[in-house]
Symmetry: C2
Subunit: 242 residues, 2 copies
């Protein structure tokens, strides 16, 4: 039987957010209509991904491997990771996908979605780690009709602050301050001004800024976690996709 | 190493709600400070608990057992179930707690909490299934100084409607309508009028009515999921409890 596996814990709330997006995208009238799902949220095993990719910190790949092996042991058949930076080829190239499972790649599915929708200029917002490591750029190379557009340095730093600032950042407040909202909206508008039809919210905090909206003015907002949730359903029980 | 295991899927959102309450009650400055946690959300294995307890429907115990065994296989050492009705002795008496794990009982911890706080008259809101099956009453028998108080039949039905009504119920809307808010608040006030110092919100939808408030006027509101989250942390890494 098919079941979804989630490598979570990176961070913990991103893992449960992905699980909830699976539930919300599933056609279900009762508990038993939902797809079986396993979440392994083991941050103790998985050191910081950005530290490793950008600064050669401790290697998170062995911990991600252990989490995947546990998911396969439980019975998962389609596995996703709820972390942008973990999708770096420097990390993924070390992983052996467990027998009997398929790895559902969040960033590749995000690119495929943009491609299907016919977007050409696609903006990216995220942490400085995600932007500077070039993870999205690597995946975009496989989609010649897509062009990745980054915000100006000034807007990149404003978005980083909107996420991390100790006083008004989304992580510190577990909520979206007006200042954070304004910074992220301004970055989306800048990317729209550069011709982007869509902007990828490439950090698990950013979709919170726009609540349930899927566009800002005429710019489509893309939540990679939601794309991954839908791709996991397509892989395990496509007839249940909302 | 200690790790938390959650039998979820009953329903699916109650499982991720419990996981998120574990994260929110954990002292953590970074991902790696969080406690390792496994969630097995397999509704396909676990038929409706209320149907079984009240009407001798299909038995959910074998599925709960399988979920627990998978959690133990992953490495969980303290296991909780995010479902009130699953705590019925008719179900739990069939379960063999896996070797190397401890079962952390949500309802027993809820009673212990009320006892510690010195409450005497404790109200209970929940689905008709939870109230009529007498699950909470059975646990209260072990705490002679606690007295369980139920709402009037009329208020019980109004709360059931606030949860299940197809037009204004919390399950249907995935939000709290004014009508649902008024019905649940009125039930809390009625219990306060009967002398209750505290009211247990014994259904995973009910804490949503009061958002982050932990009291209504002078009546303490108790969220069993939050009590269970804290008890799981105490069992695995007490120094990390917020």
């Amino acid at each position: 039987m098919s079941a979804i596996g989630i490598v979570g814990g990176v961070g913990p709330l991103a893992g449960t957010d992905l699980a909830q997006k699976v539930f919300k995208n599933t056609k279900a009238n009762k508990d038993q209509d939902h797809i079986d799902l396993y979440l392994v949220s083991c941050p103790s095993m998985i050191p910081d991904r950005t530290e490793y990719v950008l600064f050669n910190g401790e290697n998170p790949a062995p911990g991600i491997q252990k989490a995947m092996d546990k998911l396969a042991l439980c019975g998962a058949t389609a596995i996703g990771i709820s972390c942008n930076t973990a999708h770096s080829s420097k990390i993924l190239s070390q992983i052996k996908i467990p027998e009997g499972t398929v790895f559902v790649n969040m960033i590749d599915n995000c690119c495929a979605y943009c491609n299907e929708k016919g977007f050409r200029e696609v903006g990216l917002l995220g942490t400085l780690g995600t932007l500077r490591s070039g993870i999205y750029a690597d995946y975009f190379k496989n989609y010649p009709s897509l062009h990745l557009v980054l915000p100006s340095e000034e807007k990149q730093e404003a978005v980083q602050d909107a996420i991390y600032n100790k006083e008004y950042g989304i992580k510190a407040l577990s909520a979206v301050s007006e200042k954070a909202y304004n910074a992220v909206s301004a970055a989306v508008r800048e990317l729209a001004g550069k011709g982007c039809q869509a902007v990828i919210l490439g950090c698990t905090e950013l979709p919170l800024v726009f609540e349930k909206k899927d566009s800002l003015e005429k710019t489509v907002l893309i939540d990679p976690t939601n794309i991954l949730a839908r791709a996991l359903i397509k892989e395990t029980a496509p007839e249940k996709l909302v």
